[in-house]
Symmetry: C2
Subunit: 233 residues, 2 copies
């Protein structure tokens, strides 16, 4: 039994980055995509699920695994999963770890993805993390993915060969959007806002990064906003 | 805010090894234990929960977090979580990866434990894995824990300082039982059998290792067995 390499797991959050990662995976020859979407109690999980499910249709996914788990919410410590903590206004210049940081979240998601990959003989796990994430989140840094690759290499069966691929890890959000527009990623069916289910607030970190990327490319973001900054009209 | 203190997370499966790990943690000065127990669809999850809960009372745990998640069962690939796959009879000499291997399970459990530790300023995560596990399970080997420590170091907040402690990683089951009897671990409230909720089958790998450990020490295992081998009477 070998891990045939046209199969890849993609961590599909429902957002722009992971949708672009799915299209990038197919562009690199991974035709059979196994999408893993996790509802972990994040504020906007219903809308994210709808978008991830739509992505599975768009890429004609080989499989769609929807994990519902409450443990990150139970453990707490993040404004993303704790309705009692306010999501902060955008501060894209800050060096502080944002309140939306979910303790060690990406390790939890990658562990699930590798289990899913190993059980389905997939040769890769794609994750859409990018450089503007790792300014704030320790579990989005290149060093984190390199360290996790080692865990995969020693912690799976000898015949398992799963590569972690974070294709955008050194890119900006604008680079991702540019690549995604080139690949035809249906951004109308993606969700980024940390705060509300619909329409997007337009003022949290995630909205600010997203709107900024479209602005830099001279494109209009196709989703609706509660409050669209003047520059993004 | 520092994490150097007397707080530790213990991955409490309900079994002998993790119960002994909890007592070992206290013996090493971690008085405030945060027990993390996971129901992930394993065959004997109800009985394991009862034992983990009893352990929390025995050690007067500071907190008990019960995670219920279906993702390992959804992902499948193991006789431990797939009721359609038979649990094999004991073969403690085999080099094959047993059918009870849950793909990359310990990475999933450690990721949860580190999230829990980071959210609660704990300085350590204890896991009761031992050398007879890693003869069969790749995610129980010393190299796996060393690699995971690096992921923790780079993937958590700068002020977070969590040490993974696998105190028995080079020990045999017999060594663990000997230490546990010395520490007064209440083994009557621990569960090892992979197959049935009560009484333990006495014939699966986990029962065979457990019974063998008590036999080697000349002690009688205090739990009930469906079928107790002659040597263990």
């Amino acid at each position: 039994m070998t891990t045939t390499n046209d199969r890849a797991v993609v961590l599909a959050s429902g957002g722009m980055d992971s949708a672009t990662a799915a299209y990038e995976a197919q562009a690199r020859g991974y035709e059979a995509l196994y999408l893993l979407h996790t509802s972990y109690g994040q504020n906007t999980e219903q809308r994210e699920y709808v978008c991830a499910r739509a992505l599975a249709d768009h890429v004609d996914a080989a499989d769609f695994c929807h994990v519902e788990t409450s443990h990150l919410q139970q453990i707490g410590g993040s404004s993303l999963t704790d309705s009692g903590m306010a999501v902060a206004e955008a501060d894209t210049e800050s060096d502080e770890i944002p309140s939306s940081y979910v303790p060690f979240r990406n390790a939890n998601l990658l562990a699930m993805a590798v289990s899913y990959a190993e059980a389905n003989d997939c040769g890769a796990v794609f994750i859409g993390a990018h450089s503007e994430d790792f300014s704030g989140y320790p579990d989005c840094r290149p060093a984190f993915f390199e360290a996790f690759q080692r865990v995969v290499d020693v912690g799976t069966k000898p015949e398992t060969d799963v590569s972690l691929v974070a294709p955008f890890v050194e890119w900006t959000k604008t680079d991702i959007a540019e690549r995604g527009l080139e690949l035809g990623v249906p951004y109308a069916d993606t969700w980024s806002c940390y705060r509300s289910d619909e329409p997007a607030c337009g003022t949290c970190d995630a909205c600010a990064f997203r709107l900024g990327a479209f602005q830099a490319l001279g494109e209009r973001d196709p989703i609706e906003y509660e409050q669209r900054p003047d520059y993004a009209d």
